[in-house]
Amino acid sequence: MNLEFLIAALVTVVNVSTPILLAATGELVVEKSGVLNLGVEGMMLLGAIAGFAITFILGDPQYADTLPWLAPLAPWLGVVAGAIAGALGSTLFALMVLTLGANQVATGLALVIFGTGVSSLIGSAYVGLALTPFDQIFPDSLAQDPILKVAFGYSPLVYFAFIMVGAVYWFLNKTRAGLVLRAVGENDLSARSIGYSVRGVRFAAILFGGAMAGIAGSYFSMVITPLWAEGMTAGRGWIALALVVFAGWRSGRLLAGAYFFGLFMTLELYAKASGFSFLPSQFWASMPYLMAIIVLALMSARESGGAEAPACLGKPYLPDA
């Protein structure tokens, strides 16, 4: 096996992993604050259509003469639009869950249905259109080089995902605000008693999670396949949820876990294309979920007693109960 082959395979792994990593990074922060937002898939779809639509509208050649700077900026603004769309979806969730004290599980599921419906309603006007892929920022000499592309051949969003994982690690572990967020997730009532705004912290976390899911969605509609198709995220939002669990709510492991999942999904394809089908493909497809369950069990079985999972995860915040 030669190096170029391995590198090309690695590039596929990165492409497969990045959207899951983006969404999971956001969800990690949400869950660390003690909130379980199951609506990732819905927010991703909202981000996917917003990213596509805004990029498409702003990239329209009719602006080429009057606003020549707009076209190169269009995909960046598209990603921002994707983030905003995801954040708007999560705002709905936050208002329901934090302000009105609604059940998180049910609200999250409602958000999935909502995001799927709204994105397909808006998206019906964009079916059959295509964008230039938002994929490489480095010059061809680097990005298309069979060896160097392992470092330079990606969409800006791939680097963004790396940066965000690092930033979230730093934020959660090295900053005071991160400490407060974790405290809110571990014990909301005592965090409140020492004067922190539990709702404020969680609202911010949920918004961040929504924006990241939205960006993850726009990775589908702008990078992997620069087109809009209904339900195009095809269940990756649920895999992102599994990833957060698999990573044991740790940002470092999140990065490793995302690439592990990506490697798994890519290996399946390589196995099939090379004619090794020693296990049914359905077994491979269910592995991310099985692995997440196994990790959950292993983590909890240890002495620490599952301390990694935020203690307030999914529980309502009832300050006057």
Partner: protein, 359 residues
């Protein structure tokens, strides 16, 4: 603004068909109501979209003598039955159910509405008022195989499939046989992604095949993702179901277009004339104008286009069939004897790959 124009268009189309016809006697000048059941959204740009184009062609052709409604995103489970029944109850006299998974449901409703004509796409069960229809897509696959066999420099071609169902298997075989006819050493690597629609997985599988040395990849899944990936990698591929060249102007060599319009028009005409008959199975192809190749990419050399066109004309005049023996399966066992042609009914249940398919 695009949103508004599309909406208005849909609305005006709706106004014509919203007239309640229930319980009224059918007069000669009253339009025939045709109904469609769709698996996906009309915007899937694939299977359902092609049927939707056929429906529009039908409405266009009869200019007011036919109205045609549709229901999209109908699950292939028991819940499809009432949806089909509903179309019948609303006075639709000719109903097309456009996916395999509606088979038993179509038959069930047909029993309850003996005066309504049903047409089930890709199925194999019939009744007096249920006909089945399909297209001979594999004729197009033979054209793609010919082009791929001539264009490929590596001698390895990728094939991206959804599920191992007869429709996909016969496409793989037609493609491989045609490619082998122009290049006996050609290898076809097959990947089934276990989904009709998962753009990200389709893209990853295409990258994988490219990395394994395939310089042409053809897909039998529903999105344009494989083509977009090939365009990025400066490799070649084909459109699926429709001309997808706008997604990949360089990579898109041609496409098999599913043209359902002629069949729909002929069946509606038969229903109007009173000559419609159920119980039969229609497989239209290039000869009938139901399988059409999109314009060839300008970069294709003239001899490749000529070879492709030869297949097309061979199908049109009946002188060519890719499933002409000798054909061996993957193990090398002879499946079709020299000079014999495979019957459509055998193709319709095929579950083995020809020699040279690596799966």
């Amino acid at each position: 603004m695009t949103i508004l124009t599309r909406r208005n268009f849909v609305k005006s189309a709706a106004a014509a068909s919203a007239l309640p016809l229930l319980g009224r006697a059918a007069f000669a000048d009253e339009p025939l109501k045709v109904g469609y059941i769709y698996l996906g959204p009309v915007g899937d740009f694939g299977w359902t979209w092609a049927h939707e184009k056929g429906r529009k062609a039908l409405v266009e052709h009869f200019k007011g003598k036919v109205v045609a409604d549709y229901v999209e995103n109908v699950n292939e489970d028991a819940s499809a039955t009432p949806v089909i029944k509903d179309l019948a109850a609303q006075g639709h006299k000719l109903i097309f159910t456009t996916s395999f998974g509606y088979m038993d449901q179509t038959l069930e409703v047909a029993k309850a509405y003996p005066d309504v004509k049903f047409e089930h796409c890709t199925g194999y069960k019939h009744a007096d008022n249920v006909a089945t229809y399909n297209n001979r897509f594999h004729e197009g696959r033979a054209v793609l195989g010919t082009i791929a066999g001539m264009v490929s420099k590596t001698g390895t071609i990728g094939y991206l499939g959804s599920f191992k169902v007869p429709e996909v298997v016969m496409g793989v075989n037609a493609f491989t046989l045609a490619a082998q006819a122009v290049n006996p050493n050609i290898k076809v690597k097959l990947v089934m992604i276990d989904s009709w629609f998962d753009p990200a997985k389709e893209a990853a599988a295409t990258e994988t095949l490219a990395n394994l040395g395939c310089d042409v990849v053809t897909a039998h899944t529903d999105s344009a993702a494989p083509l977009q990936t090939l365009e990025k990698k400066k490799l070649f591929g084909f459109g699926q179901g429709a001309d997808m060249s706008r997604f990949a102007p360089h990579a898109h060599l041609t496409a098999i277009e599913d043209i359902w319009g002629p069949y729909y028009i002929s069946r509606a005409q038969a229903a109007i004339d009173g000559t419609w008959k159920g119980g039969g199975d229609s497989w239209w192809g290039m000869k009938e104008g139901s399988v059409v190749m999109s314009p060839y990419n300008k970069s294709l050399p003239a001899n490749v286009v000529a070879a492709a066109e030869k297949i097309v004309s061979g199908y049109k005049d009946g002188s060519y069939d890719v499933f002409t023996g000798p054909i061996a399966d993957q193990t090398g066992a002879e499946k079709v004897k020299k000079g014999e042609r495979m019957a459509l009914k055998d193709l319709a249940t095929i579950d083995w790959y020809v020699k040279g398919v690596q799966s």
